[in-house]
């Protein structure tokens, strides 16, 4: 089933935002963490990597970001199409908000522009825009410790958006949040994605979150991390709370859950 979905896509290489070919990653101890992995993500697509903890989905994301190098295989990330600062076509949102506690919200969001040497006037405009996109315009001068967990995550998202990247990589960004906050951020993220049409690769261990957000869910096995199955979620846009309670949604969740189960059973714990 998974294969039929893949062949159906048959993407034009020019249309790909991210392409992984035979990618493997060995840990220092010689333990195979990942792969071999083949993933293609089209421009503007919202893809989730779903799998149990330690299945290497975060590692895959770090490889795409260029934070780590693969042991073998190639990682290809498409060149930017839009004007972005100094070619930073990737925005990364970590599991933790990863904010600098000594800097205000504004200065945290400013960081990528400052590192790229963007002129101050343009930087300020972009920061205001990014903060407005995540609904934090009024909190520009607050310090991270003054914000709730959800708001910190929004700052982190604004910082990823401020360079206007083509690709947004998100590493379990909402995992530490309470459910109500997570649902709100899910909806806001979908709205952002509909408006900005960025390529999003979203790592999560929540079946429900992956189905709700994605156009495509890639289920991974653990040790080593491989693709177990792929599902296209053809739910109508725009998705909102009524989709979360629909029969269709429950059906998708059941299918994806079933695909995930074997990868759990492989684990001893």
């Amino acid at each position: 089933m998974a294969d039929s979905v893949l062949s159906e896509i048959a993407p034009d290489p020019a249309d790909l935002a991210v392409s992984l070919r035979g990618v493997t990653k060995l840990y220092d101890r010689g333990v195979m963490a990942l792969g071999p992995l083949d993933i293609d993500v089209r421009r503007g697509e919202f893809v989730s990597l779903l799998g149990p903890s330690g299945c290497g989905k975060s590692t895959a994301l770090r490889l795409i970001a260029g934070l780590n190098a693969p042991t073998s295989g190639t990682v290809h990330v498409a060149n930017r199409t839009s004007e972005t600062w100094a070619g930073r076509c990737i925005g990364f949102v970590f599991q933790e908000p990863t904010l600098m506690p000594w800097a205000s919200v504004r200065d945290n969001v400013r960081l990528p522009l400052k590192l790229a040497g963007a002129p101050a006037v343009e930087a300020n405009a972009r920061i205001d825009e990014a903060l407005a996109q995540v609904g934090l315009a009024e909190f520009a001068d607050a310090f991270p410790r003054e914000l709730s967990g959800g708001m910190k995550m929004r700052v982190s998202l604004a910082r990823a958006l401020v360079t206007n990247p083509d690709i947004l990589l998100m590493d379990e960004p909402f995992a530490a949040l309470d459910e109500i906050t997570r649902f709100r951020l899910n909806n806001d993220l979908l709205a952002l994605w509909r408006n900005l049409r960025k390529t999003v690769i979203f790592v999560t261990h929540s079946v429900f979150e992956s189905v709700y957000l994605s156009q495509r869910v890639i289920v991974m096995t653990s040790r080593p991390g491989r693709i177990a199955a792929e599902f296209r979620i053809d739910a109508p846009e725009p998705r909102a709370e009524d989709f979360r309670t629909s029969v269709e949604y429950a059906g998708y969740c059941r299918t994806v859950s079933n695909a995930l189960t074997p990868s759990y059973q492989g684990q001893s714990a």
Partner: protein
């Protein structure tokens, strides 16, 4: 009637609040008052013991005699105080700059750290009182005194700064890497701010230690017959059996130490108060 919910005593919330606040206020007052009371009792006991036993001032002067000496000898003592403070300040600045600079160097080059760090430790663990006489032979006296203050003070700055530079959030470091930050940018925008609370902690220790270093060197130099700092006054007064002046000078040294610590704590608080846990008021 009986089925209605038990109404909470209306005054509970209203009473508890001010009560707790006054409790808090009393606690603060007690925390300030208690040491003052202890001091007063101690001074009174000291005065009584001296008076009842008729102890001569060259054995143990009473608090009044010490205070009188402090006033009477103020022209001499204040000059000595200034000298010691200047030495301390110079030693402190040298320790701060030296400690931070060394830590930055070590952070940039592991080779340098592996080569030099053991010697920094050796310098720290060798008692400065034993090193001071040697320094006084090879260096001009004023320089030797500052070097002593530096030796004692730089290590806490070095080790704390190193600790701070190494405790940068791993994901933040990844973020800087992702956005192609240069080494200088990473140092300036990430490592130094992250290390700041640690550096300030190190400086706070170094402030007090610089005073100790200065005093040790002055005492060592004082026996060589030169110098005019407070420690020198103590040594000199000891030879002359001018015990009240010894006490007066000691009192000034203590006061100087307290002021140095207080100032550094204040500076640290002012710098960190907006973001660091240590400077935030405890909530709940």
């Amino acid at each position: 009637m009986t089925s209605s919910l038990p109404t909470p005593p209306p005054s509970v919330a209203g009473q508890a609040e001010p009560d707790r606040r006054t409790d808090h206020g009393i606690l603060r007052l007690v925390r300030i008052l208690l040491p003052v009371v202890v001091l007063a009792v101690g001074i009174a006991a000291w005065s009584l013991v001296v008076r009842i036993n008729n102890i001569p001032p060259y054995v143990l002067p009473g608090p009044q005699a010490v205070f009188e000496t402090l006033v009477k000898d103020w022209p001499v003592l204040s000059l000595s105080l200034l000298t010691t403070l200047r030495t301390t300040l110079e030693g402190f600045v040298a320790a701060g700059v030296g400690g931070i600079a060394l830590a930055l160097l070590f952070n940039q080059s592991k080779w340098l750290e592996y080569s030099l760090f053991p010697y920094a430790v050796i310098l720290q663990v060798t008692p400065v009182i034993a090193v001071a006489p040697l320094l006084l032979i090879y260096l001009p006296q004023q320089t030797a005194v500052i070097v002593c203050a530096w030796i004692v003070g730089f290590f806490p700055v070095l080790s704390n700064t190193t600790l701070g530079l190494n405790s940068v959030d791993r994901n933040l470091a990844g973020l800087f890497q992702l956005y192609g930050a240069s080494r200088m940018q990473t140092l300036r925008y990430l490592k130094l701010p992250a290390a700041l609370p640690f550096i300030l902690g190190g400086l706070r220790i170094a402030g007090g230690l610089s005073l100790i270093g200065a005093v040790v060197a002055e005492i060592a130099a004082g026996s060589a017959g030169a110098g005019s700092g407070l420690a020198f006054r103590i040594a000199e007064s000891g030879y002359r059996l001018n015990i009240p002046r010894m006490f007066a000078a000691l009192l000034l040294l203590s006061a100087a130490g307290i002021v140095i610590y207080g100032l550094l704590a204040l500076v640290s608080h002012l710098i960190l108060r907006r973001w660091h846990e240590s400077a935030l008021r405890k909530e709940n």
